[in-house]
């Protein structure tokens, strides 16, 4: 690991105050860190830990009315930035320090061509003429490995893929060779394949340009891939700092240990196979084609899923993994009949439900329940959570008292306080809300439980708990479970069987352990080969 004497950024004692009336006084408190040139420092933490606030403070991009740095110093190559004027900061941005963001989809101006957006940097900070600028832009676009730079130069952001947009952002950030690059979760919104490419690109450019990188992430897989050193944040403070090897293998702080042990392993858990149990769900050539347009618009149709043949036995979890746009969520929504499939059949036990009318479907509803990704939108904010849980059973004629009594039991089952039924959703955290959604689903006593990216929006420590809960419930209630996820680590931990989807089709289907050990399809192999941190085993700590 490179330990440079030449420092790009030094932050010491940095404290940022939150507006009055909050339960915490400081967004970040007494942050000390330094980033050397030719070094990548990863700042890791869960949501709300203050890692983004730290990054924005350095750039001077904090929302002025809400957050102010009240103490400490930020030095860029020795120059103090906390008291720098707005003009000086503007001069430094993109010349000495640059930043790239999480959402390449929204971080570029949609109505300006990509070339012009990079050109703006040169126009603002240099006196180069048009020709020299264009040459420089094409050169940096080449360096970030964009295909056909001349064409992309005049393309608009929406015509590019997410990965390409992030490359444009990187090009923009590095075109003037800054000493410091701040990358705020730059790969979180990207698919795993693209993520791997971007990580490699950042690492490569950083070495070639001698750039110091402050890399913010919540993902230990990414940390393992890219970091030279790691700083772990919790509740606005840095709790541990050290080399990657040191932090991942010999963590000191209990919080760090907990975080790292929560990272699901890529090695599937050993599970008993249940070949003899009855089949709960079976699909035959399930297909869904979305078509758009009408009288006055040109018709467009998108094949979201086709020829999907899967089955799930009682007590078994089938995972569907795939990247965004692979059709995995479409399959889940078809099976839950939230959308009407355009082809094929779905059997619950032996009842065909793909083609039944809305009225007929209602009697089958209680047999299939679904838990969604976003815990903040899955519960009606205006209703007490108890009312949400008993809504289903009461729809099917269960008396209110009985339903409430059952709801109390279920609250216990999902490890929540049974007396909390008369609270509103906003009084619960994300993980708790996801438990409530599970309770609501279980109140229907379903045969099949669908979890559609149900743990994807959760922090890693909460994620581990909800995953365990789902697994416990499956065993206790002998449920069939359909688990949709983009995360191979999660899939490895909860799935008995696995269907890998790509471009609307199931490309590989079989026992999870078998697929993880010997992926046979080329796509699956590619997917596995780019999983971040695949060479590390998390949570097995070394002691000195």
């Amino acid at each position: 690991m490179s330990m440079d004497t030449d420092t790009a950024l030094t932050v010491s004692g940095l404290t940022v105050e939150l507006p009055k009336g909050t339960d915490r006084r400081h967004a970040i408190e007494e942050i000390d860190l330094h980033v050397g040139r030719r070094e990548i420092l990863c700042l890791v933490g869960e949501s709300g830990s203050g890692k983004s606030v730290t990054a924005h403070s350095v750039m001077g991009l904090l929302p002025k009315d809400q957050l102010t740095a009240v103490a400490g110093s930020i030095r860029l190559e020795g120059e103090e930035l906390r008291h720098a004027t707005e003009d000086r900061l503007r001069d430094l941005r993109c010349t000495r320090m640059s930043m790239i963001f999480q959402e390449p989809m929204t971080a570029l101006n949609p109505v300006m061509s990509c070339g012009r957006q990079i050109d703006e940097v040169l126009q603002t900070h240099t006196s180069l003429d048009q020709q020299a600028r264009t040459a420089k832009i094409l050169d940096i676009m080449e360096q970030v490995r964009l295909p056909d730079p001349r064409r992309l130069f005049s393309s608009y952001p929406h015509q590019l893929s997410g990965g390409q947009r992030q490359r444009i952002m990187i090009a923009m950030a590095l075109v003037l060779d800054p000493v410091l690059l701040i990358a705020d979760e730059p790969t979180t919104a990207l698919d795993v394949t693209t993520q791997a490419q971007i990580l490699e690109l950042i690492k490569d450019l950083q070495e070639r340009h001698d750039t110091g990188v402050l890399f913010i992430t919540h993902d230990f897989g990414v940390v393992a891939e890219i970091a030279d050193r790691v700083a772990v944040m919790q509740w606005g403070r840095i709790v541990e700092q050290g080399t990657t090897e040191q932090v991942l293998k010999r963590p000191d702080h209990p919080y760090t240990k907990m975080l790292i042990s929560s990272v699901p392993s890529l090695v599937p858990r050993h599970r008993e196979t249940r070949r003899a149990a009855p089949v709960v769900l079976r699909t035959e050539e399930l297909a869904m084609t979305y078509s758009q347009g009408g009288m006055f618009q040109s018709k467009r149709s998108v094949v979201a899923a086709q020829d999907v043949n899967i089955e799930i036995r009682r007590g078994e979890t089938l995972g569907i993994v795939g990247e965004s746009g692979s059709g995995k969520t479409t399959v889940a929504r078809c099976i839950a009949r939230l959308i009407d499939p355009t082809g094929g059949r779905i059997y619950i036990d032996d009842d065909e439900i793909a083609r039944v009318s809305v009225g007929q479907m209602r009697s089958h509803r209680r047999r299939i329940q679904i838990v969604f990704q976003d815990p903040y939108r899955s519960l009606n904010p205006r209703r007490m959570v108890g009312a949400s849980i008993i809504e289903g059973p009461m729809n099917f004629g269960q008396p209110r008292d009985e339903a409430l009594a059952r709801a109390r039991e279920l609250m216990g089952l999902v490890q929540l306080d049974p007396d909390a039924l008369d609270r509103y959703p906003h009084q619960f955290s994300g993980g708790q809300r996801q438990r409530l959604c599970i309770a609501r689903a279980l109140a229907m006593e379903p045969e099949l439980l669908i979890a559609d990216e149900a743990v994807s929006a959760l922090d890693v420590s909460v994620q581990a708990q909800v995953m365990d809960l789902l697994d416990d419930i499956r065993i206790q209630l002998d449920l069939a479970m359909l688990f949709i996820t983009h995360d191979l680590r999660v899939a490895a931990q909860v799935c008995d069987r696995l269907a890998v989807m790509s471009a609307g089709k199931v490309v590989e289907y079989g026992d999870a352990a078998e697929i993880f050990a010997n992926p046979s399809h080329e796509y699956t192999r590619a997917l596995f080969s780019v999983a971040p941190g695949r060479d590390w085993t998390f949570g097995e700590f070394l002691t000195d």
């Binding site: 503007r90 971080a107 940097v121």
Partner: protein
């Protein structure tokens, strides 16, 4: 692009058809003999019989509808028995003042409303913003004829800077023409400015919260560039949309303003027609104004693809 143009143009047909249908139904739904209504209070039995013949009022309603549509498509808007003229001719005579008034108003509005909207958004929460917003609420609240009379009282009667009322054609010279248009245009633009300034402020404010604005700041661009090149450009689509929708407001205002300033345009014609219970003219004016409104909004739709490269059809 051409295909898109045709499709968008085709999409206006059902709307226009619907308008024509309403206008047709309007008369058929009233109690009494439509022919007698159309002939007006002084209609002779002979005229009534004539109308009954041309509109086929003895025939079943669907046939009447067919006749009505085919007359429309031939540009035949009927006869005004009140003004004793062809309605089409009547309307053509009144177009110039109204178009002149609308255009000057539009120019004044855009020149004032967009800049103050942008400034209000940029200085969000300051006294400047509050002033703009205050003016905007006020502009919405004071009826156009009250504004008109106050302006007449002040600038025409007290300061004698402008003629009180009346209109001069462009053919009579540009100065007298524009001199008489200034007060009416300002009157008419008050509510329109209120509307556009408000939407400009809201749109720019929303865009200022976008990620790419932060990117622009992170590039070290000066505030002015961020505001105009990045924020305003992206706020253009909603602003232009509301300018289009606001044309309805403009048309309503024209009716009142022309009455206040005694301008012989389509708005005055509308009021005179209503007061004289001249139905052929009322019908025609509604059709013309609605047609213009739909057409303007169609043109505005076309500008979207220039303003925002994501909108391609």
């Amino acid at each position: 692009m051409y295909g898109f143009l045709m499709r968008r143009l085709a999409a206006t047909i059902p709307v226009l058809g619907m308008v024509a249908l309403f206008v047709f139904l309007l008369l058929r739904m009233t109690p009494g003999d439509p022919a007698a209504v159309l002939a007006g209070d002084n209609g002779t039995p002979q005229q009534i019989a004539e109308i009954r013949e041309t509109l086929g009022l003895n025939k079943p309603i669907p046939v009447q509808l067919g006749i009505w549509f085919s007359n429309l498509l031939q540009g035949d808007l009927g006869q005004s028995y009140f003004f004793k003229k062809d309605v089409t001719e009547l309307i053509l005579l009144r177009v110039e003042p109204t178009v002149a008034l609308a255009i000057t108003t539009l120019v004044i509005t855009v020149l004032i409303a967009v800049p103050i909207g942008v400034i209000a958004a940029y200085r969000h929460g300051t006294w400047l913003d509050r002033c703009v917003m205050g003016f905007s609420v006020l502009g919405f609240s004071v009826p156009v004829f009250v504004v008109g009379y106050i302006l007449i009282y002040l600038f025409a009667m007290q300061f004698k800077m402008f003629p009180v009322q009346g209109y001069k054609e462009l053919a009579d010279g540009f100065f007298p023409f524009i001199h008489r248009l200034i007060l009416p245009s300002i009157t008419l633009s008050v509510i329109y400015i209120a509307l556009i300034a408000r939407i400009t402020r809201a749109s720019v404010l929303e865009v200022l919260g976008e990620d790419y604005i932060r990117t622009a700041h992170a590039k070290g661009l000066p505030n002015r560039v961020v505001l105009l090149r990045h924020a305003l450009r992206n706020a253009a689509v909603p602003i232009v949309t509301v300018i289009g929708i606001g044309v309805a407001l403009l048309i309503s205002g024209v009716v009142v303003t022309e009455s206040v300033y005694n301008i012989p345009g389509l708005g005055r014609l509308t009021v005179d027609a209503v007061l004289g219970r001249d139905y052929p003219t009322i019908q025609a004016v509604i059709l013309v104004f609605s047609g213009v409104y739909v057409l303007i909004n169609f043109l505005i739709d076309l500008t979207y693809s220039f303003l925002d490269p994501r909108i391609r059809y």
